[in-house]
Amino acid sequence: MTAPMKLALGPLLYFWPRESVLDFYAEAAAWPVDTVYLGETVCPRRRELRLEDWLAIGESLAARGKEVVLSTYELIESDADLRTMHAVADNGAFRVEANDMAAVRALAGRMPFVAGPFLNVYNAATLAVLADLGASRWVTPVELSREGVAAVAAEAPAGIETEVFAWGRLPLAVSARCFTARYYDLTKDHCELRCIGHPEGLAVDTQDGKPFLVLNGVQTQSASPQSLAGDLGGARAAGVTHLRLSPQPHGTGEVAAVFRAAADGALSPGEASARLAKLHAVPACDGYWRGTAGIAPAQAGHA
């Protein structure tokens, strides 16, 4: 038998006050997650926590038996961004998730790293390059279907772990522009860090009143959480070793509990999906996983 799938708490994508972040990870230490990704990945202007703070959180989580990974920015623009990325890459304590090729270059051949979801690993040839440089795990791009994941994983070098985005609002796009600042008619350099007032981002609805997207600073997310809870058997069969759960301000511990139970077979796909549905105002989606439009409603319990 293969080992049970592990749960990974993805990096916090929103901007929360320092105390909220510390409280969140203090709680997370008790959740049934195996891996915790830490660090700021979205916007370099968000500096409630410094690298030292993330390392301290990492140490306390590691002491509770969690695997800790530090994530790099998904978009690097300035010299300061590069310096921060290098500081993360050289942290000396924890494995690093590389989210752009500059980070891959900084880590290549030096230590095992996680190939993050923004590296666009759509095929086995790309994964082979990254594995050759030291990637020990890859996080699939959100667009890759179950069949695509399975095909890449099947050809992956031995021992490479495969992580999919199993729960949460999908990070769909990143820009040099800040859409939260734009909403407030502020410029990016004088954004007043307004996104700290939106712990779940700013909801974008269509003109006919349907929840569609979420503005999270320079990042745009789906309004629907993607949920693979209905097809964890399929995920396992596809070679998935890690299920990524994306932090939200409320209910993330319950999400972890549901996924743990579902992955262990203690909850049916239908039961798991029903419990998750209570945690989010917008119904879940899983279209990408099924090879269609990402927004397509999740099919609870599909085989």
Binding site: I76, A125, I295
Partner: protein, 344 residues
Amino acid sequence: MAQAAAPEAPARRLKLVCPAGTPPALKIAVDQGADDVYLGFKDETNARNFAGLNFDERSLREGIDYAHRKGAQVLLALNTFPQPATWRKWQSAVDRAAALGVDAIIVADTGLLAYASRTHPALRLHLSVQGSATSHEAINFHHERFGIRRAVLPRVLSVEQAEKVVSRTPVEIEVFGFGSLSIMVEGRCALSSYATGESPNTHGGCSPARAVRWQETPRGLESRLGGVLIDRFAAADHPGYPTLCRGRFVVNGDTYYPFEEPTSLNTLELLPRLQAMGVAAIKIEGRQRSPVYVQTVTRVWREAIDACARERERFRVRPAWQEALAGISEGRQCTLGAYHRPWK
């Protein structure tokens, strides 16, 4: 190859890279003085996979022949991301490109870059804008690993940032000069596939036409993409194509363009700066645009680049150029995009 090497040309004259969506556009671009033309095969291996566009092997062979006789180079875009089921199609596209004698291929996918550099070491590689390399370190990674000779900068950097990149890499840098403006980092946007199942990364097109629906309603003309309401127009409005990031949506009761208003990029006035900082090439967007567009934009930019090479800091943008470009811009409003950041 370009036999007509221009001995008098200044060493740093910017190359003009023009879109060739079709064989007629290729001829027009070459005739109007493009240094490079870029094009794609008729399939999803390139990021402008639209009906009626692009080249089969025969038209590509003729196009290469035409361009080479006039001293222009042909760059083939293979800038989408092959998936396991379609990997061989992309691989074979690289092989065909090499066999046909294109002057370079423009590639985004890491695995495909590795394949091309290993299998066709003499084939010149350009890193596509879809490769999302926004720093000199990311560009140098591709240089060190795959020997890329040129990189196209994502349309997100300021002039100052672009200048730093240019000064720290041996790779030629190509920047966007004119055309439709992408608000998201290229290669990092899945908005289109979220609504429709197809994106630039996976299918070579954003907001695909097959997913577009127009409907007259009592509230106005509605445009939908994959069933999602993108915009609603009153009679006086000019309805634009429902590209997702140019839609009007509602945030906390405010209906506005949360991402961007329809505008075009136009960097003519930055030419002296781009030339002085050592940018190698200026790219004109628009393989999906008409031959008239290609003719106008190539003629204007050829004149402007030549004038800039002669006049350097005395260079001034001619009103006639701006007038001609304004007539073919989407949204009829031009901006300097990220190069100059009014939104910073």
